[in-house]
């Protein structure tokens, strides 16, 4: 599908305005820099291919996030399958994704605890705690009620605390 110059310029503007949020959200879900870079870019390419369906009355990131989440799920499943079938390939998950100042050990534990959560918990923690989205923005992005955002955050943090037992 080809799009005209105006739409192409609009697409470029949207990529540049949303690329950091896209990358960091994917990083929180996937736990790997390379995978987050690859998947967040692939999601933008899918957006480009369906740009004629973009409803400008709605939030761009909400639409983009649905595509990104599906690609993240595919990636996690493919990666799991590759591991189960002992297919060698690039080893994602061997990197530290957090800034490390004086608390390197804590970073490592948090990263491990975060990656042990399921994707639903990881996404809501990433959006709130690392991306600092408001409750309303999270509700819109995930298509759930504001009250549900709060309860899901509560239980996600609780499970994260359980995964970090002994380090808190």
């Amino acid at each position: 599908m080809t799009i005209d110059h105006t739409a192409k310029a609009e697409f470029e503007k949207l990529v540049k305005a949303n690329m950091k949020r896209a990358y960091y959200t994917a990083l929180g879900i996937l736990g790997s820099h390379d995978a987050a870079m690859e998947i967040s870019q692939e999601a933008f390419i899918r957006v480009y291919r369906n740009f004629d369906k973009y409803d400008r009355q709605k939030n761009f990131f909400t639409w983009y996030y649905k595509i990104l989440k599906n690609l993240c799920l595919n990636f996690i499943r493919d990666n799991k399958r590759r591991k189960e079938e002992n297919i060698t390939g690039k080893d994602y998950y061997n990197e530290n994704i957090f800034e490390s100042y004086e608390q390197k050990e804590l970073n490592q534990k948090l990263e491990e605890a975060l990656l042990r959560l399921d994707i639903e918990d990881r996404e809501i923690i990433t959006l709130k705690e690392f991306e600092n989205l408001s409750y309303n923005e999270i509700a819109e992005t995930l298509g759930i009620a504001k009250g549900t955002v709060m309860s899901r955050l509560f239980y996600a943090r609780k499970r994260l605390a359980e995964n970090m037992k002994g380090s808190l």
């Binding site: 080809t2 470029e12 990529v15 540049k16 690329m19 950091k20 990358y23 960091y24 990083l27 929180g28 820099h33 870079m37 870019q41 692939e42 933008f44 390419i45 480009y48 595509i67 599906n70 690609l71 799920l73 595919n74 499943r77 493919d78 530290n96 994704i97 957090f98 800034e99 608390q103 804590l106 970073n107 948090l110 923690i125 705690e129 690392f130 409750y135 009250g147 709060m150 309860s151 955050l153 509560f154 943090r157 609780k158 994260l160 605390a161 970090m164 808190l168």
Partner: protein, 147 residues
């Protein structure tokens, strides 16, 4: 746990809780002392999360982010053009070859019939597979998720 508790916990964690809401939270804890442990746990994990931030990729990576997307889109179109062109040439070549073969008076009729049957069979198989793929693509709402 009731929904009000989650809301008050969030306000407490964000330090946006009013005195009235503080009293409401205290009342809920008084009614169910287990909530105090839950609240303390939330405060502890929130403190840890507050200190954490993701590593920021270098400026060069951000500068090349858009270019990476643009190149992939451009190459995608190039591959489509190459594939469509190749397909047209292969189909044209195949039709021409079949025509020459069928017009050849030296070839026995039974061989011509056998060749025609094989070609028709392959075309029907291709059509059937293609129709099934299109049907699955249209009906499967989870098509983006690989199983």
């Amino acid at each position: 746990m009731e929904e009000k508790f989650f809301e008050l916990v969030e306000k407490h964690l964000n330090k946006e809780i009013s005195n009235e809401e503080r009293n409401e939270l205290d009342a809920l804890i008084e009614k169910n002392p287990e909530l105090k442990t839950e609240l303390e746990e939330q405060v502890r994990i929130k403190e840890v999360l507050k200190k954490m931030s993701f590593k920021n990729p270098s400026k060069e990576i951000w500068d090349s982010y858009w270019l990476g997307i643009y190149n992939k889109i451009e190459r995608g179109f190039a591959w489509i053009a190459v594939s469509v062109g190749a397909l047209i040439l292969i189909v044209y070549g195949a039709i021409e070859a079949v025509n020459v073969f069928m017009k050849d008076t030296q070839t026995p009729g039974i061989i011509k019939f056998g060749t025609a049957a094989v070609i028709i069979g392959i075309l029907v198989l291709l059509f059937s597979v293609l129709r099934e793929k299109i049907y699955t693509f249209k009906k499967d709402k989870y098509k983006e998720v690989q199983r």
